[in-house]
């Protein structure tokens, strides 16, 4: 978590913080591994590949064919949180781990910690088919250097019980409304502050919040105040997706912030729920396969990155997880595997306008992206989260 090293030295900083067209990523202080030249070809496999990943990201249905095709045996270590991923990957994975399927809130910590190194996108043929935004999003691409291969993404949706809300809620206001006291759940994660900031950016424009991850002290204080007001209304802050599923299933909560995964699981179990992206837009996560600085099986790592980028595997993973693939060619595969799923998961959305409504997770830094260093860094988000929960 040495992500802020550059923040102190950011005299001339230009940040491509928006999400318009082909993003060249951010233009910022060089990470420690920026000068490491990535390999230019994929050699013979090493027979092994050690992955730190979200549970299910190497499902048998696409991992076994990979091992059969490449001879790379997978050793998996599922992590429970972004923070666990960051701590496992300390010291460049320590020679123990080759790759990590990091989410946007962890990426900059890994990049500026020197734990991951640049990757050569030329070795991933399907990278050309990625939606433009995901070729070089600001959370994994710095100064045009790619610190990983984008994988999948998803929005943080508003999940609700259809019996309690016969009409689809149109605003995040429902999770701040005292009428729903004791029926609300939100993730137990400091990055949740961004959800409140996004809501305030639309409902209190006078605060001038442009990016929910780049908050000045005044904007941050207003956001924390809103979350402290919300606290007495919360039934429980959920830690694991399965916790939220059982909260909804047992009727302990009726509305909350969730991922499409929970919706799919709950619907499959027959629970009367649905999800929506309210008018204020939503935050979202996007995962990236990153290569450990001390990876000992780099060839198998590149073969894996290549494998999971193919339309077929992208579609399989999207359907098993309720995620959206970054490969635009995956849409047809999704339709073939499950009709209607491409549109259902927004995989046919390629316009910049759509991605503007999703504010992707990124590690909050002191650097506001406009040369100013007065924004609130992640460490302060964590402290504030403690005081919000009391």
């Amino acid at each position: 978590m040495k992500f802020g090293a550059f923040a102190a030295a950011a005299a001339v900083v230009l940040t491509a913080c928006g999400s318009t067209g082909t993003t060249p990523g951010s233009t910022q202080e060089q990470p420690p591994t920026a000068t490491m030249k990535p390999q230019t070809s994929i050699g013979a496999g090493e027979g092994q590949l050690n992955l730190v990943l979200w549970d299910g990201y190497a499902d048998k249905s696409w991992a076994d064919p990979f091992t059969a095709a490449t001879g790379c045996k997978l050793n998996l270590h599922p992590a429970g949180s972004s923070d666990e991923m960051v701590s496992l990957m300390k010291d460049g994975g320590g020679g123990q781990w080759d790759m990590v399927s990091a989410s946007g809130d962890a990426d900059l910590r890994l990049i500026y910690g020197g734990d991951v190194k640049p990757m050569n996108t030329d070795l991933i043929p399907d990278w050309q088919n990625f939606d433009n935004y995901f070729k070089g999003p600001p959370y994994n691409t710095i100064n045009g250097i790619h610190y990983g291969i984008s994988l999948q993404w998803g929005p943080n949706t508003l999940l609700y019980n259809k019996k309690k809300f016969p009409n689809k809620p149109t605003s995040w206001q429902v999770i701040y409304d005292s009428a729903n006291s004791g029926l609300i759940t939100v993730p137990d994660n400091p990055i949740q502050i961004a959800d409140a900031a996004l809501y305030l950016s639309k409902t209190q424009p006078s605060l001038g919040i442009k990016d929910p991850y780049e908050l000045t002290q005044k904007q941050f204080d207003a956001t924390v105040a809103l979350l402290k007001q919300q606290r007495p209304l919360i039934k429980k802050y959920w830690g694991l997706a399965t916790d939220e599923i059982s909260l909804f299933k047992n009727g302990d909560v009726q509305v909350g912030a969730a991922w499409p995964y929970q919706t799919i699981q709950l619907k499959a179990a027959g629970a009367p729920v649905d999800d929506t992206i309210p008018s204020e837009g939503a935050t979202g996560w996007a995962d990236t396969w990153m290569l450990a600085t001390k990876a000992t099986h780099p060839n198998c790592a590149y073969m894996w990155a290549k494998w999971v980028s193919t339309p077929k595997v992208q579609a399989m993973q999207a359907l098993s997880f309720g995620e959206t693939p970054v490969n635009s060619k995956a849409c047809a595969e999704m339709e073939a595997q499950q009709a209607g799923s491409c549109h259902q998961y927004h995989a046919d959305e390629t316009g910049a306008a759509y991605f503007d409504t999703i504010k992707f997770w990124k590690t909050p830094l002191a650097d506001c992206g406009n040369g100013s260093k007065t924004c609130i860094p992640y460490a302060t988000w964590v402290t504030a989260w403690t005081s919000i929960k009391g």
């Binding site: 040495k2 090293a5 949180s81 701590s87 302990d252 002191a366 403690t386 005081s387 929960k389 009391g390």
Partner: protein
């Protein structure tokens, strides 16, 4: 060479104690006086009291410490009240055979995983759980105590109860029968004997048990995550968040000093009450 033998015998346990236990505590103590650079989250090794100043001045930490100590006290009192009659029956009333059976009953839950036992309580207490189902089937309104501090109190009291019963049982078993007979001979009624003879002699056992129930609750962070509600953060949860999420180990170390201090005071009082004679 008469000094050699005790030296050889004592070196392993004393060495183990110093290296493993004291060294870890000293490291913790030293780290607590350092800080981290808020931008890089690297540890800055300059001596200051910032972490302690934050803990003392920020009301958030006072309410978290207050909640932790409050619930630990409540759990201890609950367990003492539940354990005493049970242990009394085991030690002084039950036959040898029943005694063995009760012992097994007390210890049996400890064979199951802590997590399994906590999750079992989630199934009982949640909205559509066993408790509400039972209440509704006899026509009573549902009790929504799932994911509250009440739920934490219940679960903690259940989980640590054996740790109270065993020392109280040990203390009660050591009360000589002759004292009770003497008390009766001198004209004391049963409740008088209980109050003036049995209770004072059993008190060190209760205090010893309370050390377990109090310290185990004080240091827990899993039950608050699983059965706690929106305002159920314990000291342990903040320590965990500072190590795992914020990477602020100095602050976590400083906050760990709080339960350490509380336990030091508690153990001193327990020592004065003679609890260690019953261990």
């Amino acid at each position: 060479m008469s000094w050699l033998r005790p030296l050889v015998l004592l070196t392993p346990p004393v060495g183990w104690f110093v290296v493993i236990y004291l060294a870890a505590l000293v490291t913790l103590l030293i780290t607590a006086f350092w800080t981290i650079d808020p931008f890089t989250t690297q540890i800055v090794q300059s001596w200051n009291l910032d972490n302690f100043r934050i803990i003392i001045t920020d009301s958030t930490y006072w309410s978290i410490i207050g909640r932790t100590v409050g619930i630990a006290t409540l759990v201890t009192a609950t367990d003492a009240v539940l354990a005493f009659p049970f242990a009394y029956f085991m030690a002084r009333v039950a036959t040898r055979r029943v005694q063995t059976l009760l012992f097994a009953a007390v210890l049996l839950p400890l064979w199951a995983s802590y997590l399994a036992r906590v999750y079992a309580w989630i199934l009982i207490l949640n909205h559509s759980g066993v408790l509400n189902w039972s209440l509704q089937s006899i026509g009573l309104p549902p009790a929504n105590i799932g994911y509250t501090n009440t739920a934490m109190w219940l679960v903690f009291s259940y989980i640590w109860l054996p740790f109270m019963i065993i020392p109280v049982y040990a203390a009660l078993e050591r009360v000589p029968e002759s004292l009770m007979e003497a008390s009766a001979d001198l004209g004391a009624r049963r409740w008088q004997t209980l109050r003036d003879v049995v209770l004072p002699l059993a008190a060190p056992g209760v205090v010893a048990g309370s050390i377990f129930t109090f310290s185990l609750t004080l240091g827990d962070y899993i039950t608050p995550i699983l059965v706690g509600g929106a305002s159920s953060t314990f000291i342990g949860n903040v320590v965990y968040a500072n190590v795992g999420i914020a990477n602020n180990i100095p602050f976590a170390a400083a906050l760990s000093m709080v339960p350490l201090g509380i336990m030091a005071v508690y153990l001193f009082i327990a020592y004065r009450l003679g609890a260690f004679e019953a261990l």
